[in-house]
């Protein structure tokens, strides 16, 4: 019987034969005991009860290819993960190449997600930190062993530096040693470097993808073209949950070049797709379609009506997400009670590359395969969902990894919505040609899966001295995780952890703390959006704390310091940002500073924003951002992610909102959903708090901090609290 595992290994062996490359099988710690005495090739050929891990490939041409198990969507995985390998391998950075891993959860699972392969939650580098260093160290040991054998010298005397293996005056490159190294036994245990000997980690090697992304050669899904491929442009329902009743394709079919018109129905949406050789013809065809929709179960409310419902819900008893002491009683006995409510809209991810996907179906039955080209963020889920749609087994779905033109969470769709749509269209067209589904910007913006709308009510109790004695926080908004594969793991006692993260773990010392949650079911599809729950909890908690400080006539920075005594990482980041920003130093008239600090994904970010008023509008003069992300594997990539997170968060803070009118999405493109542009981007200074701890994520944690820091600066300047996002709804305009 040929199992999938042995087929996979068969493929590997063929690859080895043809490429002459050294493919190093790496062992996870728990599997080490089973591997001694076998060569890397043995491991690949023999069917073992454990799966060898493959992250490193060294070719005779002396290139070292690091197989990266996480999607490169801008956050730097194709640089950060290879850095870990290069460090322990003592490679020269110029010989390092990065390659996206195929879908194979046995080899490439996210170690923080159990058995699933995927990218998210700012985990890519953190979960790979030891795994890929071991991969590099193991490869190095085999190169050393091969050299020692060749030169008949003790392995301990062989030196590896910048891609050169040497012993006294004898020298060989990795490429020259690759074939011999492949015959060496895989080490059972490898010693990782003492951090004081790091040559790459903690420095700032150049990104592996910068060149290709500056000259147009980097390949995205949008750029894939297969022989005979048709482009599909789809008509989507006007409202979420509408079902296709009928459609008229007669006008579309009159357009020269339209090949087929097919209807589809997926768990995410119904629709009609027009297929043609090129996008423009398919789009003209799509625009010529007419359709009738059954909207009996469609979502028909407006955002304002939904917010009214949330406000009513907030006044009722919610599910307890956190309870320390007795907040209600402490509020009743407080000398002063403050209350504020905060409103947050739906947000679209709006990555630069609108969602798209290429699908090719081959054969039928047992031998059928569905091959997909996509910027893959959610391999295991996508394989499962696409397989279900097509009546295949997950392993019959082959995923080819490409660069993603942004994601911000969108590509990790719980329903694999755009992949399934592409697969369903390909199937509906009879599987007779490969299909590239291309969403226009309007399709992308109106397809849903937004950051949910939220409503927060906060109450704080102060004693006679103005000290904080009670904090009650009520959150209303859709659960992102309910109904997803993560529900069992992360929804506990009716509380979706992502709805309350950043609120239920409030770092401030307050004796009586209560956080309550309402998770209404609403027919608008929602999902994680860069920094997830923190996108709203950071704003509510950090702005409300500034309101408390103002009431108690305390300095917002000093109040935070006083309440964070037990949180040294928060304190360090806060102090670093405040010091560099000159917190406390006098400012010119019409200027102010705002401060905020927030932990997300185990990373702490503090920001100080300085603003000025000019006429009727405000200008952001500068942002100082301090981050504690453990060891900064690449300080340049860390800085890039801080800048990017601030820019992304700023877009949402200033004008970002998806609003519904009678269930229809009002925004459609970048004129009414406006990202920050060059002229609005503030100067940013990034400080990295020195740390010896394991690295934590940097892709998301800067995003949630900018809006509250900015709002707090506005409060300081104008005396007016900002209680809703985007700030454009609060009568604030920016130059």
């Amino acid at each position: 019987m040929i199992t999938n595992e042995s087929r996979r290994l068969e493929g590997r062996r063929k690859f080895l034969k043809h490429s002459g490359a050294l493919l190093l099988g790496l062992h996870l710690p728990q599997t080490l005991a089973q591997g001694p005495g076998k060569t890397a090739e043995d491991h690949l050929v023999l069917h073992k009860p454990f799966a060898p891990n493959a992250f490193v490939r060294i070719a005779p041409d002396n290139t070292v290819t690091v197989i990266v198990k996480h999607l490169e969507m801008g956050q730097g995985t194709y640089t950060g993960l290879p850095t870990l390998v290069a460090e322990e391998l003592d490679a020269d950075w110029s010989q390092i190449r990065a390659e996206g891993a195929p879908a194979d959860a046995k080899l490439y699972n996210n170690l923080f997600w159990g058995a699933a392969q995927g990218t998210g939650g700012s985990t890519a580098l953190a979960n790979s930190y030891e795994q890929l260093r071991k991969a590099g160290a193991s490869a190095r040991a085999m190169l050393v062993a091969a050299a020692a054998e060749k030169w008949k010298v003790p392995a301990q005397e062989v030196v590896v530096s910048r891609g050169v293996v040497s012993h006294k005056n004898k020298k060989l490159s990795f490429g020259q040693l690759a074939a011999d190294a492949a015959k060496q036994p895989v080490p059972t245990d490898v010693q990782l470097k003492d951090p004081k000997n790091f040559t790459y980690i903690g420095k700032a090697v150049r990104r592996t993808d910068a060149h290709a992304k500056s000259n147009g050669t980097a390949r995205f899904t949008q750029d894939v073209k297969l022989p005979g491929m048709m482009t599909a442009v789809a008509l989507h329902p006007p409202r979420f949950g509408a079902k296709l009743k009928s459609f008229d394709a007669s006008k579309a079919k009159e357009i020269a070049g339209v090949r087929d018109v097919v209807q589809f129905s997926t768990p995410a949406r119904d629709g009609v797709a027009v297929l043609a050789k090129d996008y423009w013809t398919a789009k003209k065809g799509r625009d010529a379609l007419t359709a009738e929709w059954d909207e009996s179960n469609a979502f028909k409310l407006s955002s304002s009506e939904l917010m009214d419902q949330y406000k009513k819900l907030a006044a009722t008893q919610g599910v307890s997400a956190k309870k320390e002491g007795d907040a209600d009683q402490a509020l009743a006995g407080a000398a002063k009670v403050l209350e504020a409510a905060y409103e947050f809209p739906f947000l679209a991810h709006a990555s630069m590359e609108p969602m798209n996907c290429v699908v090719s179906l081959q054969a039928r039955g047992e031998n059928a395969t569905c091959e997909i080209w996509n910027g893959e963020q959610f391999q295991t889920i996508d394989q499962m969902v696409v397989a279900q749609t097509l009546g295949l087994k997950p392993e019959q779905v082959k995923l080819n990894q490409l660069y993603a033109g942004g994601s911000f969470g969108r590509r990790a769709n719980p329903a694999s919505d755009y992949l399934v749509e592409a697969a369903a269209i390909t199937k509906a067209a009879g599987g007779k040609y490969p299909v590239k589904l291309v969403w226009g910007r309007e399709d992308d913006m109106r397809a849903g899966w937004y950051r949910p709308m939220y409503y927060h009510v906060l109450k704080a109790g102060l004693d006679e001295k103005g000290d904080l004695v009670a904090w009650k926080h009520v959150i209303v908004g859709q659960s992102i995780l309910t109904g997803t594969a993560f529900e069992a793991m992360l929804v506990k006692d009716g509380v979706d952890g992502t709805s309350v993260e950043g609120a239920a773990n409030l770092p401030y010392a307050v004796a009586n703390l209560a956080v309550e949650l309402h998770s209404p079911k609403v027919g608008v599809p929602v999902q994680w959006w860069r920094s997830v729950g923190s996108t709203h909890t950071a704003f509510a908690t950090e702005c409300f704390l500034d309101e408390v400080a103002r009431e108690a006539k305390k300095d917002p920075y000093q109040l935070r310091r006083a309440l964070l005594a037990k949180h040294p990482r928060h304190l360090a980041a806060l102090d670093a940002a405040a010091k560099r920003a000159g917190w406390g130093k006098a400012l010119a008239k019409g200027r102010s500073r705002g401060i905020a600090v927030h932990e997300s994904f185990n990373t702490v970010v503090a920001q100080v924003v300085e603003i000025s008023r000019k006429g009727s509008s405000l200008k952001i003069q500068k942002v100082v951002c301090a981050v504690d992300c453990g060891v900064a594997v690449n300080s340049n990539v860390v800085a890039m992610q801080m800048e990017s997170g601030i820019g992304y968060g700023l877009s949402a803070a200033l004008t970002g909102a998806i609003t519904l009118k009678d269930g229809m999405v009002e925004q459609s493109n970048f004129h009414d959903y406006q990202p920050v542009r060059m002229n609005q981007m503030p100067r940013i200074e990034v400080l990295i708090v020195p740390s010896k701890e394991k690295p934590t994520g940097v892709g998301e944690p800067a995003t949630p901090v900018i809006a509250p820091a900015l709002a707090n600066a506005i409060l300081a300047l104008e005396g007016k609290p900002m209680r809703a996002l985007p700030l454009s709804t609060q009568g604030v305009t920016f130059a």
Binding site: M73, G216, R441, E643, Y648
Partner: protein, 152 residues
């Protein structure tokens, strides 16, 4: 059959005349460096040069550019300015997801051709039509200044 002058070569295409240049480049000529972002000249991902000036190819029908010299990202690196800009992009670690960067590089190269020493205000004016959702703007600004210095 339309004839276009793309990157110094005469190219024939049977695309209908109303087809935007973007889709002729991408779907007919397999020149995929120029990107589709919005289809409405709002984001600049599709920026090419028409006679050296930046233009949004997503709203430019090929019937309107039969007489223009079209330059795309595939060729811009062979010009002195384009080469300097691309080198500066790498040196300043500009790209993140990278999807908008072809358009950014084209816009920046056109800016340097018209203003060899651009001020911050010049950069704002020339580059604010190009959206980057990764918000790489500060590095783009630094890279333009670096390239300007390199070319001086």
């Amino acid at each position: 059959m339309a004839t276009l002058n793309i990157n110094g070569k005469r190219v024939q295409t049977d695309a209908p005349g109303d087809t935007p240049l973007l889709w002729v480049l991408r779907d007919y000529l397999d020149m995929t460096g120029t990107k589709f972002g919005c289809g409405m000249a709002l984001c600049g991902a599709c920026t090419v040069h028409l006679d050296g000036k930046p233009a949004r190819s997503c709203v430019t029908p090929i019937s309107a550019v039969a007489k223009n010299k079209i330059t795309t990202i595939e060729k811009i690196g062979e010009t002195k300015a384009g080469k300097a800009v691309q080198a500066a992009w790498t040196a300043e670690s500009v790209p993140q997801c990278g999807y908008c960067q072809s358009g950014q590089v084209m816009a920046a190269t056109a800016l340097l051709a018209s203003k060899p020493h651009p001020t911050d205000a010049d950069i704002d004016a020339a580059m604010s039509g190009n959206i980057c959702r990764c918000a790489t703007y500060n590095r783009i600004r630094a890279a333009i200044k670096r390239a300007a210095k390199e070319l001086a």
